[in-house]
Amino acid sequence: MVLKAFFPTCCVSTDSGLLVGRWVPEQSSAVVLAVLHFPFIPIQVKQLLAQVRQASQVGVAVLGTWCHCRQEPEESLGRFLESLGAVFPHEPWLRLCRERGGTFWSCEATHRQAPTAPGAPGEDQVMLIFYDQRQVLLSQLHLPTVLPDRQAGATTASTGGLAAVFDTVARSEVLFRSDRFDEGPVRLSHWQSEGVEASILAELARRASGPICLLLASLLSLVSAVSACRVFKLWPLSFLGSKLSTCEQLRHRLEHLTLIFSTRKAENPAQLMRKANTVASVLLDVALGLMLLSWLHGRSRIGHLADALVPVADHVAEELQHLLQWLMGAPAGLKMNRALDQVLGRFFLYHIHLWISYIHLMSPFVEHILWHVGLSACLGLTVALSLLSDIIALLTFHIYCFYVYGARLYCLKIHGLSSLWRLFRGKKWNVLRQRVDSCSYDLDQLFIGTLLFTILLFLLPTTALYYLVFTLLRLLVVAVQGLIHLLVDLINSLPLYSLGLRLCRPYRLADKPTALQPRGAHLPPPQLWLPPQALLGRPVPQAVPWGAHLPLEAERGQAGLRELLARLAPPHGHSQPSALPGWHQLSWRMSCALWTLLCAPEHGRPCYHTLGLEVIGSEQMWGWPARLAALHHWHCLPWDPLPTCCGHHGGEHSNPRCPEHCPMPTLCTQVQRVRPPQQPQVEGWSPWGLPSGSALAVGVEGPCQDEPPSPRHPLAPSAEQHPASGGLKQSLTPVPSGPGPSLPEPHGVYLRMFPGEVAL
């Protein structure tokens, strides 16, 4: 029989100890979960394993021993490991050995009950299988969480194959919460132990970065305060600070460092990206600077540069002298004013002579200066380049002076000429009105002005030529400095971190996606659906207030109900019982109000309006088809209903009573309007008496009877209304026997009403 031992790869390099895992007897598999290191106390080990078994319900036990040491102490360790078998009894007992630094493995599985089974061999063959614990857990190939009742069934079903291994590893999370780096009774090694050392170092670095940043931030703020003090605001220092590119670059670097070591947290991804880019550019700058420094200070290159510097300066000076002599002659065939030409040429030649003397005076110290300047590369390549730009500016200072002289002279001349030209033409610049006005000059003013104008005009070509030449020279120097500054700005502003992210992880440059806003549908209250059903069992007075809202709200309520059923069933169930009590209370209150209205009027005429309202309200009960039929029939009537009613009244009673009962025709008209289709089918008495009888009964009984209990009266009208509505529905159909039995009842009610009217 072959025994399969699953061993985690993360424990291959750990020290010796006990093998902790689960034994699957069905498939003769031993799943090793962790290695328990020495020293340990057996009682504590047993307690830990008991806790793990209780928490994860996995049969975790000590499966055997793990030996990872050299060859020499193997003998004594072997005996010790053998003795451990008695402390932790388990069948079979695994013994895994591996030489440190070697690839030789030895696996043994022994059975203690060998004497009991004489026929079986003492040791089984062991198949060692390595598995990645971390991948097994992350892959989630184990079965999902199931109820405790079915756990046994699931376990039984998943016994076959590797599912048992996955299930064992997944359900043993409790065992993985502590490892050899934690302070506890036992020290375990498993997949969580691999990255702990690195994480500890990272944690230490993270905790140390806070104080370091604070220290550097305070140091930088101190430097900023020193640089921002009043001394540096004075003219000479501020002028030098603005002119020298080295000072500018140092100020720029100070800003960068302040940004890097600031303790304020980045508020948005843009600031975070800017800070990261700054860090990357500073690191690149310092690295390039150190490379330059090593290159310069190797093989005495600084000495060579110093030796080559003075001859270059001499060469430049000689070239300038040749240029000036060319200008003092006839440059490009142009004829200049010889006197002015000589004066200017000698002036500039004298300056060149001074410059050469200065260069030769400084030549012994050039090497030392360059050596110290080279050390500035430690601060970064940009600082070194800025210093180079400043050195070029100092070496070409004479050219700068020439340019300034020529420019000033040329500007002065142009300004004078423009002013004197106005004088020549007899005009003057009006400063107050900012325009040119005529002016009358004195004779001496005109004379001197014209004289100066003539002189300046004839000397202009010479001055312009000198200005042009020196401006070109200045542009040459500025171009070189511009290239250096361009390189410095490139290093300072290159977004290396962003480029790196763009190349390696483009997704991190994207902005955060907008969170999806869950939109809940606005559902109408479900109470609106109930009125139609409730109305069926309610009397007419209670149904009147809700009648006007039936069509629209009913439809909407039904739609809402369908949505509720389609989405969530429980809310529907909850809303239904809560709606009924509210509905009951509201209907009860409305019925009380209506009853008060019926009792309040002192005269009989307001009763007519109430009765009319009731009649109109009862119309709502029919529904749309009946209403449409009624309207159709009403429009088709060829005669006026009023004369018919008067005729009927006259027939029944005497003529002198008819004028007294003039208000009656109004009520008759309303009745006729409500029920126009019934007249052509039946006689005049039956359609008039039936609904008016029931309504009048309600109106008459109200004021006559002073009974305080109101709940009984709503019931009585409803009882009467039922047969009335039934009668109406029957009368709509062409049934000849329908209206017959209803004749005597309305007649009696009608007789009751008249005594009241007579009394009024």
Binding site: M336, G426, L443, L446, F447, T450, L451, L459
Partner: protein
């Protein structure tokens, strides 16, 4: 109906009025239309000698330019001693200064408020600046070709003559520009003289003959016309004489120019005035004779 017989019987006279109804068509032309014709209402009658007298101002300026050029030529050729010219110039200036005050008895000075001290200061300014700038003037146009200098001088002097104020109220007149052009021309010519002293004397002479001399002549003409005529004749003969010493052909041409300007042009003007016919009549545009300035802001 009733008016027509009256019209037929009586001869109605045409009137140039619009508020009455007349029995004439709109394009009726009365026989008295041409009687209102007028000629040369605003024409001025010129006298021959008066015009000749006024043309003397032009003669003066032309002679000034001629004298300046002649003097420059003499100095350029080295025939004239600078010191002699300087002395003569200063003496002439002093005589002119005294005459300037004597002619009007000092009324002009009192009216203008110009003091002798101010005049002295101006003179010193002129002499100092001219003497100080003379070395610069000497070498000012060394590198410029002589033809360019001559051309510039000619144009400037012509401009001086064109823009000069001869007494006529014309828009082209600009005494400032005229004087400046003359000084510019003198500086250009002075830069061609051999030494700085020559340049200094030349520029000073230019100031005297282009700025001071016209002022004296203007006052002389206003106060004593008779002596003005004499001075003009003397000046003209001097100019022609000087030019004759250089070039006979030039002198003859210049004399002819002066004669034509002073004698022939006035005669021509008067003869042509006989043929002048400005016609005025009822067809003229209406003129508003009332002053409308009170309606302007």
């Amino acid at each position: 109906m009733y008016a027509q017989p009256v019209t037929n019987t009586k001869e109605v006279k045409w009137q140039k009025v619009l508020y009455e109804r007349q029995p004439f068509p709109d394009n009726y032309v009365d026989r008295r239309f041409l009687e209102e014709l007028r000629k040369n209402i605003h024409a001025r009658k010129y006298q021959y000698w008066a015009v000749v007298f006024e043309s003397s101002v032009v003669i003066q300026q032309l002679c000034s330019v001629c004298v300046f050029v002649v003097i420059w030529w003499y100095m350029d050729e080295g025939l004239l001693a600078p010191h002699w010219l300087l002395g003569t110039g200063l003496a002439s200036s002093l005589i002119g200064y005294v005459l300037f005050d004597l002619i009007d008895g000092g009324e002009g000075r009192k009216k203008s408020g110009q003091t002798r001290w101010a005049d002295l200061k101006s003179a010193l300014v002129f002499i100092t600046f001219t003497y100080g700038f003379s070395p610069v003037l000497k070498t000012l146009t060394e590198s410029v070709s002589t033809d360019t200098i001559y051309a510039m001088s000619v144009f400037m002097l012509l401009g001086h003559l064109i823009f000069f104020d001869y007494g006529a109220n014309a828009a082209i007149v600009s005494s400032t520009l005229s004087l400046n052009m003359a000084i510019f021309a003198s500086v250009c010519l002075a830069s061609r003289l051999p030494r700085s002293l020559h340049a200094f004397i030349m520029v000073t002479f230019a100031i005297q003959i282009f700025a001071l001399w016209p002022m004296l002549q203007k006052k002389l003409k206003a106060c004593t016309p008779r002596s003005y005529v004499g001075v003009t004749l003397l000046f003209a003969f001097s100019a022609v004489g000087g030019l004759l010493s250089i070039s006979a052909v030039g002198a003859v041409l210049f004399a002819l120019l002066l004669m034509s300007i002073s004698c022939l042009c006035p005669f021509y003007l008067i003869r042509l005035q006989l043929f002048k016919e400005n016609i005025h009549g009822p067809w003229d545009e209406a003129e508003i004779k009332e002053d409308l300035s009170r309606f302007l802001s």
